[in-house]
């Protein structure tokens, strides 16, 4: 299978009405551009179908492309490593996933994901106020968000790891709330990150090998 016929998919956006190019920022310096499927447009580059190793550089490249697209469009993120043998197979997958994509786009259109992590300082890793602190943050931030998703606490010092789906025009409001809460709990380390594509709020498996999707 050669590079000309394979298509690597970075994300899906609402159709801009005509082919749009994002420049030669794809794998192997290939052009990243849109294809058309009804009112959606997969953002792709021509690429060989191979096993994409999850190396830091390649994952970073995928992430950068999606972030570039996200500057101007609402995106449905597609997981790293999704390549199709040819355009036709990709469009078939798009048709199978159309309904799910439509639903997902309604959820995330004009919204972004922001992440908040609360981390106990080294010298105070057994602090007994952590449950209270966690719920104060969660209650206040959930009020400012459309949705939230609690993620895995992968360290004993991590007391909150949550992603929030926020309307684009409410980002400043949300940031203000994070800052205020941070002032209240000055000993806690806070990592506030984003805006990210809504990775934790879109779960379309149709483009993947899971659940019978095709490649």
């Amino acid at each position: 299978m050669n590079e000309e016929s394979g298509r690597y998919v970075y994300c899906i956006i609402k159709s801009p009405g005509e082919k749009k190019s994002f420049g030669n920022i794809g794998f192997g310096g290939q052009e990243v551009y849109t294809l058309e499927y009804r009112d959606f447009a997969p953002v792709v580059s021509n690429a060989a179908v191979k096993k994409y190793e999850a190396s830091d550089e390649e994952v970073e490249l995928h992430r950068k492309v999606v972030e570039q697209v996200m500057k101007e469009h609402s995106v449905l993120p597609v997981s790293y490593g999704m390549a199709f043998k040819n355009k036709k197979l990709l469009l078939i997958a798009m048709s199978v996933g159309y309904k799910a994509m439509k639903k997902a786009m309604n959820e995330v259109d004009n919204r972004v994901e922001l992440g908040v992590k609360l981390f106990l300082p080294k010298e105070n890793a057994t602090w007994d106020g952590k449950e209270k602190c966690r719920s104060v943050f969660l209650d206040a931030l959930k009020k400012k968000a459309v949705q939230s998703k609690e993620l895995k606490l992968f360290s004993e010092r991590l007391i909150l790891n949550t992603s929030f789906l926020i309307d684009r025009d409410k980002i400043n409001d949300f940031s203000g709330e994070v800052e205020q809460l941070g002032n209240k709990y000055q000993d806690i380390k806070i990592q506030y990150s984003g805006p990210w594509p809504p990775y934790n709020f879109v779960d379309i498996q149709i483009l993947s090998r899971k659940r019978g999707g095709f490649r």
Partner: protein, 95 residues
């Protein structure tokens, strides 16, 4: 022969104190290997290492060194899982 004898004796409901101790020690060792080569736990450590670096508790050199070691451990653990060798991953490590 030792292993076969041990299993046969167990099936007959006979335990010999010395052999039972060996068996218990093997169980403890196997549990320790499972803990050491659990891919999920290693992934957690990879994320924690990243977070410690982002919070400035590790230098970039320390981060890189830990990360390389953890990625290697993850690779071994995943290979062990794929090959269903959960308790014998130490063999792979020696290669």
């Amino acid at each position: 022969m030792f292993i076969i004898d041990d299993i046969l004796l167990r099936q007959l409901g006979i335990t010999i104190p010395g052999l039972s101790l060996v068996w218990t020690l093997e169980q403890i060792r196997d549990f320790a290997y499972k803990e050491l080569y659990n891919p999920e736990k290693i992934k957690n450590k990879i994320k924690e290492n990243r977070l410690l670096f982002e919070f400035g508790e590790l230098t970039s050199g320390e981060y890189e060194k830990n990360n390389a070691k953890l990625l290697q451990e993850l690779k071994l653990a995943e290979r062990g899982t794929e090959m269903n060798l959960s308790v014998r991953t130490d063999i792979l490590r020696a290669r």
